[in-house]
Amino acid sequence: MSNAAITSRGLTKSYRTGSGTPFGGTLREAIGQIGSRLLRRGKREVESGLKTGKYDTFHALRDVSFDIDRGQVVGVIGHNGAGKSTLLKILSRITDPTAGSAAIHGRVASLLEVGTGFHSELTGRENIYLNGAVLGMTRAEIRRSFDEIVAFSGVEAFLDMPVKRYSSGMAVRLAFAVAAHLRPEILLVDEVLAVGDVSFQRKCLGKMKDVVRDEGRTVLFVSHSMDSIRAMCSQVMVLDHGATQGCVPVDQGIRKYYESVAQRSDTPLIDRPRARRCDHAPVFAGLALGGDCSPGGVISCGGTLDIELNLDNLAGVTRGECALTIRNELGQHVVLFQTQYHADLVISGRRTATLRCSIPNLTLTPGAYYIDLVFADQPQMIDCIDGAARFDVVFADLFGTGKIPDARQAYVVMPCDWKLAA
């Protein structure tokens, strides 16, 4: 027998953009089309209109093929707009592909959003049943796991209170508790763990991990958190502008993701795809590396790295903070520089700004590094770019011994005093 859970061949999804709404344009166009179709079988005309580019098409997915075996946990990563959510929507049958096909072996449940179908006027108890049914559980299944759901969510005391009186954290916990008790053979999860407090996120991750390990579920898991991906997944699929090369080992995939975002280094920062969707005009407009860093982005271990950031669209920002994370090739956060933490600097009341971050003595182990940027108007994240710049740290004889640790051995190089004491 085949051990496949999901096989996809050439999945493609394109949307028509530009003129009007679908089902064939605006209402006026639709009426016009029906008219012309009746009068002189104008269907061909409409089709040729499509071919001659009267409509713009946007390809959310291009020729996506992959195989996922049963019991595998596969992470899906990619920049904002790379097609991750579209892929999950197609696999969960919410929307049809434009071309290609996929076969899914087993019962599927998808969790594209926490709390879909929650109604704020209903009580917690009523919402558990409703949301369970929305996610595809039968009444009997919900009844069976009801107590477990309530215990997991920790909202026992408020079960008969309308959800509108819940704190947002409580509502999310309840919604996730329902979702966590789904028992499908294949689970498709969009980035839902981004909500909720950190400790609850951890609990959810743990729950998901148990489910996978004990029950051999197949999971397709979209996340921007490379740490979650690393903790959960055996393989990843990297989507880049709707295309993928299929499932690859986690480390390789994460590296590929950062390479793909860094390849666009000739595109101005302001035009680059964002790591996540932010409903704000892009803030990061430009980035330049300086100090001891060469124009090609090479710096010796121990040198001074200057990073200059040009910010735009800051109008209305009152509690602006910028975080700059240096990641290694594996996607691990090595070090973070934050305007508030390091300098008690808050950006407010301006339209543009230039920020300069000077890091003296950058003693990272030799290897490739990426700079991830996040800008928040506290508490709201308003812009973020993964791999805004890439630089390489190269060997420098810091200790006069001709040797320093490398990236496989350690993250940072620090001086110390070794002595043979006795």
């Binding site: 709404t21 679908p22 089902f23 929507k89 434009t98 087993g106 006027e121 051999g216």
Partner: protein
């Protein structure tokens, strides 16, 4: 299912269902098995709408009764007395009006609710897979419950006005099916159109208002000149409401008129189902 998987992991292949995902073209077979599988969702959506409707109200479900009663009182004075329609009606005007209004309220409520149902549940359509028919069906179910509740008032009025109990009352389930078919047909069509063209949000109330006046709710069909009555019967609610009222009041039922209306309702239902079927795969992208 879980037990099988846990028991013998990979030795014996458990029966796995295979879902094939590919572009669909043209009309699809009506997925009755899928609808059946999601019957619990239908139930909980219906329950949600019923529960939500009367949350934080003092009178609760009594509103389902108060509204038609108030309408009846106003109509009896205006149409019955002042405009003199009562003289043209062989039975007391209040029960004449109420029986017709009961059927009309179900129909117009069901059309209004189902035509907005997809748009109102847009977040669910975008994030969850389920047979799309469930949504308009659930919204019509809510109106069916109101219909049943108000029918209790009708029974009380029948006792009050001493309306004779006849075998014709047995026609009511069949008449309700005609109304359901008409409401579902129009509702599906409008719901699907509303997804793409929000113009229909404004069209629907207007359409229902016009429809009300070409349906014998406040007036008996007899006030229409005989040569034009066939037009009224082409209205799927026309012959049906007349027959419904006759069945309730024990007056002669015009079966011919009812059948013509039923045929019209059938045509609408098929048209609605076909258009819904044709467009439903795009709902998530468009709504």
């Amino acid at each position: 299912m879980t037990a099988i998987n846990a028991g013998c992991s990979q030795v014996v292949a458990p029966e796995v269902e295979v879902t094939l995902i590919q572009p669909r073209h043209g009309f699809q077979r009506l997925d009755l098995a899928g609808l059946w599988r999601y019957r619990d969702l239908l139930w909980y959506l219906l329950l949600r709408d019923v529960q939500v409707r009367y949350k934080q109200t003092v009178l609760g479900a009594a509103w389902a009764v108060i509204q038609p009663l108030a309408m009846m009182a106003v109509a009896s004075i205006f149409f019955g007395r002042l405009l003199g329609v009562a003289a043209k009606v062989p039975v007391p005007y209040p029960i004449f009006f109420f029986s017709g209004m009961l059927a009309w309220t179900f129909f117009s409520g069901a059309v209004a609710a189902s035509s907005m149902s997809l748009v109102n549940n847009a977040p669910m359509l975008r994030k969850i897979y389920f047979p799309r028919l469930i949504v308009p069906l659930a919204s019509i179910g809510v109106c069916a419950i109101d219909f049943i509740v108000s029918a209790i008032v009708l029974v009380a009025m029948m006792v009050w006005y001493d309306v004779p109990v006849t075998a014709q009352l047995l026609l009511i389930p069949a008449l309700s099916l005609t109304m359901l078919a008409a409401a579902l047909g129009v509702g599906l069509l409008l719901a699907a159109l509303n997804v793409a063209y929000r113009d229909f949000r404004y069209v629907v109330p207007f359409l229902l208002q016009l429809w009300f006046f070409v349906t014998p709710v406040i007036f008996p069909v007899t006030i229409v000149p005989p040569q034009w009555q066939w037009l009224l019967q082409l209205n799927p609610m026309g012959g049906t409401i007349e027959a419904f009222r006759a069945a309730v009041l024990g007056t002669p039922v015009d079966y011919g008129a009812w059948m013509i209306s039923t045929a019209a309702a059938g045509v609408l239902l098929i048209a609605g189902l076909l258009y819904f079927n044709r467009t439903e795969r795009q709902f998530a992208d468009v709504v």
